[in-house]
């Protein structure tokens, strides 16, 4: 209304706003661009390096190849889901159903790959690896589309919608699997009864010495990075998350963008679930339990603003690695599982507190 004062916006990203910069400060700022750049973007990376350095001193096993391969496999699933979650959070949404979508995709695919099922009188399966893979992706994508549909058509908060579908997808998964792990001892004896070899290879195999799951996660991260940086769609995610009203006035369809982002997230969950089942050599309706919170933690640790509009998938990859390395390290150090949870929770809080401080300190 009145005087030209830049209004302090409410979001916590603006904490560093009214700060006038003198010419001297400008020069000093340019001089230390690199340090600032690292301090600004490299925070999570620094945390990961420090943590790894500590563990390599603290445990003789940490730097062993077999252990590093193991950490990579563990982190890969979180990373894949976190990429989907990053896109959602960037567009100012949140998806609580990622674990459930991963589980339902893997369960449906696993059932169809190991059993003969009758659907509407048509006998079906067991299907081969490729069809099973496509089924997992399709189920995940469909689940994501349903999330997007409910949020945009039902006009309800993302949090509530995905909290609801989290339960629904878990429930459908239980119905599909009969509450049993797949393959179960009941089906393992009939037919071929085991998950296909390539699926297990995806989860726990290696390619040229590198864990396949890790390569898949890396590929997903690169695709996510590319979408965000080089496509009109990625821009729309940033714009919708950064200022919904401005995006709308600029011709971006909010509903279409949100629908797309949840669909992509579902697709990634289908992939993540499939890889996870390959690693476990089994699927069940309750697998990937807690992954919704792990993925959100990875995203936030990675520096993406929980309220949308800024961040990226590279940070989330680092975030997933921090979570994985921490869990692994605590096991190596023989910390009890009870204490592990306390420490993991503390680390999430500390990293984000540090990150907020760093942003206030170094943002111009």
């Amino acid at each position: 209304m009145e005087d030209e004062v830049p209004q302090r916006a409410q979001s916590e990203t603006d904490l560093s706003l009214p700060m006038e910069e003198s010419a001297v400060a400008t020069r000093a700022r340019r001089g230390s661009q690199t340090i600032r750049g690292l301090a600004l973007r490299g925070g999570p990376l620094i945390a990961l390096i420090l943590l790894s350095a500590y563990l390599s001193v603290g445990s003789p096993y940490f730097l062993r190849i077999s252990n590093l391969v193991n950490v990579t496999r563990q982190s890969a699933i979180t990373a894949i889901l976190a990429v989907g979650q990053t896109l959602v959070i960037l567009s100012a949404g949140i998806d609580l159903s990622v674990g459930a979508m991963a589980a339902i995709s893997a369960s449906v695919a696993a059932v169809l790959m190991t059993q003969r099922v009758e659907i509407a009188g048509l006998a079906f399966g067991p299907v081969d690896f490729w069809l099973g893979f496509l089924i997992a992706i399709a189920v995940g994508t469909l689940a994501g589309m349903i999330n997007g549909f409910i949020i945009t058509r039902g006009r309800i908060p993302d949090f509530i919608a995905t909290l609801g579908t989290l339960e629904i997808y878990r429930g459908i998964g239980l119905l599909v699997t009969g509450g049993l792990p797949v393959p179960s001892h009941l089906t393992a004896t009939e037919l071929k009864g085991y998950l296909p070899e390539p699926m297990i290879w995806m989860g726990s195999g290696s390619f040229l010495g590198f864990p396949v799951a890790g390569l898949i996660a890396l590929l997903v991260v690169v695709v996510g990075w590319f979408i965000l940086r080089y496509t009109a769609l990625g821009r729309a995610f940033f714009a919708v998350g950064g200022n919904r009203e401005a995006a709308r006035v600029s011709g971006i369809s909010i509903d279409r963008t949100k629908f797309t982002v949840y669909t992509i997230c579902g697709l990634m969950c289908g992939l993540g679930g499939f890889v996870l089942a390959g690693r476990l050599n089994s699927a069940n309706a309750l697998m990937a339990n807690g992954q919704e919170l792990n993925s959100i933690a990875a995203v936030v640790i990675g520096g993406t603003n929980l309220f949308g509009g800024e961040g990226g998938v590279l940070g989330s990859l680092i975030g997933a690695l921090i979570m994985g390395v921490l869990g692994n390290g605590l096991n190596l150090l023989n910390v009890s599982a009870f204490w592990q949870r306390i420490i993991q929770g503390t680390v999430i809080i500390m990293v984000v507190v540090f990150d907020q401080w760093r942003r206030r300190r170094f943002t111009t």
Binding site: M1, E2, D3, E4, V5, P6, Q7, A9, T13, D14, L17, P18, M19, E20, E21, T26, R229, Y230, T231, A232, L233, R235, A236, F238, A239, G242, N243, E245, A246, A247, R248, V249, S250, G251, I252, S253, R256, T260, N305, G309, E310, T364
Partner: protein, 494 residues
């Protein structure tokens, strides 16, 4: 009433924001039982001065004395202890709470054991509302009240704290004539009790009605302080503007082209009724109206942001259907929104902000050429003289005027040939205003047609080739350039 010692003395108050020197060594004082009017254009620094006094904005330098004693750093709590009460221009009530709860917010009367004393709250609220002579149910939710009632509730809230100094920031902007009279009555009452009142306004007519002294601010500096009986409207206006009209409003006249936009029978529920107008190439069509006359809805409706009841829209003679902003952009429309915060994407740097509207025309999977984007942005930064240390600067860190230019660049980039400016100068300083007007001229020279919605009479009178006056969602008058006076506009608008 007036003692020699001023109740409040502010010395050499200085405050800067990035790109704006909001207050430049301002001196100001206030006596007991006095109403001191602060007058100035938008962006002159009035709100900043009172916000410093209420503790919500820290000053860069300068000293403040009350009853001759220096007071140090101010924050909202400290200001309240000192008896400084402020009625904000943007209402600061909690919409989901009742009027009574809002009035006692932060100081709810309690019984023993810390239990809230609801009876005391409701009775107290009733009393203080009645003391204002208003008929508001203390238990009504704030969001169910109209703006004037909310404003009065806010005033009641401040008065329960029995302030010694009352700061009123444009208190009448939302009030009807009746309510305004009542407010003036309350102000007279408070004066008799010895309260000192700082009254912010940009309406000259109010000055003699409420004030004893008036201080005029311009571009963050004090132009002068006069007793009200020495200040006539003409003199005050000159002090406020302080520069030649030609310098402030660099209007250039160009030959108008053919009609580029024609609107017929536009209606929108109960908000807009049977709107018809035509816009030509190179024309600035002013639409004037008081707050809530439907101008904003008109802009949004044309742009596909409101579902239209009926309308025939012709662009360059072709009838078109605009159902959403993406289609509006495709037909060459651009909209500079009233609230700048609705325009910028604050945490993104300049280039993505500039290309946003153009990108929305792309298929989602289409790849971006980031090199081109930077080149294009560089061109607009040069052309529009956007002041920024680098392109990577997130736009939230630009000054208001530069943010406005970034949004303008977005529409140039999307190829807009019909621009709707909704209050284009709101919240930017005087220098930036002149620049925005200059850019509007440049646009018209290129054949762009501009719809300029404004409630600032001087600027619309100076800049528009034609003025349509709006009231209650309808056009009530049309004037050619130079035909209308401020009185004509006001008469048809209210």
């Amino acid at each position: 009433m007036r003692s020699n010692q001023p109740l409040l003395r502010m010395e050499q108050i200085d405050k800067s924001y990035p790109g704006v020197h909001a207050l430049d060594h301002v001196d100001f004082n206030l006596y007991e039982g006095e109403v001191h009017v602060l007058l100035g254009e938008n962006g002159a620094g009035k709100s900043t001065l009172v916000k410093i006094l209420s503790g919500s904005v820290p000053r860069d330098s300068g000293r403040i004395f009350m009853h001759g004693e220096e007071i140090g750093d101010l924050n909202p709590e400290r200001a309240q202890e000192l008896g400084i009460g402020m009625v904000y221009q943007e209402l600061s009530l909690v919409p989901s709470l009742s009027a009574a709860e809002n009035i006692f917010l932060g100081q709810l009367p309690k019984k023993r054991l810390g239990i809230v004393d609801w009876q005391a709250i409701n009775n107290g609220a009733k009393e203080s509302l009645e003391a204002l002579g208003v008929d508001i149910d203390p238990q009504a939710e704030i969001r169910g009240l109209n703006v004037a009632e909310q404003q009065l509730t806010e005033i009641a809230r401040i008065l329960t704290k029995e302030p010694k100094i009352l700061l009123l920031d444009e208190p009448t902007s939302a009030l009807s004539d009746n309510d305004r009279e009542r407010l003036f009555e309350i102000i007279r009452l408070l004066r008799e009790r010895g309260v000192g009142i700082v009254y912010i306004s940009h309406r000259l007519v109010e000055v003699p009605l409420v004030g004893q002294r008036v201080t005029v601010l311009r571009d963050g500096k004090v132009v002068g302080t006069l007793p009200v009986n020495e200040a006539n409207e003409e003199k005050l206006a000159q002090m406020m503007v302080g520069r030649d009209l030609t310098e402030q409003y660099p209007k250039q006249y160009i030959e108008l082209g053919e009609a580029i936009l024609r609107i017929e029978n536009l209606s929108l529920d109960d908000v807009l009724h049977d709107i018809n107008f035509e816009l030509h190439r190179g024309e600035i069509l002013g639409i004037f109206g008081l707050m809530g006359a439907g101008q904003m809805e008109l802009a949004r409706a044309i742009f596909g942001l409101e579902p239209l009841s009926t309308a025939n829209i012709y662009i360059e003679g072709q009838e078109v259907a605009i159902r959403n902003p993406a289609e509006a952009i495709r037909y060459g429309l651009g909209l500079l929104t009233r609230d700048r915060r609705e325009g910028i994407v604050p945490m993104l740097p300049i280039p993505p902000n500039v290309t946003l509207a153009k990108l929305s025309q792309f298929a989602p999977y289409r790849f971006l050429n980031l090199g081109d984007e930077i080149e294009v942005t560089n061109k607009y930064v040069r052309d529009l003289r956007i002041q920024t240390p680098s392109l990577d600067r997130r736009v939230i860190f630009l000054s208001g005027g530069n943010q406005q230019k970034v949004v303008l660049a977005r529409w140039l980039c999307s190829g807009a040939k019909i621009m709707i400016f909704d209050e284009p100068t709101r919240g930017i300083d005087v220098g930036a205003k002149a620049e925005v007007f200059g850019l509007m001229n440049d646009l018209t020279k290129k054949g762009v047609g501009i719809v300029m919605i404004s409630s600032e009479m001087p600027e619309i009178l100076a800049m528009a080739d034609r003025i349509l006056v709006m009231r209650g969602g309808q056009f009530t008058a049309e004037y050619k350039e130079g035909e209308a006076t401020q009185e004509d506009l006001l008469r048809n608008a209210s």
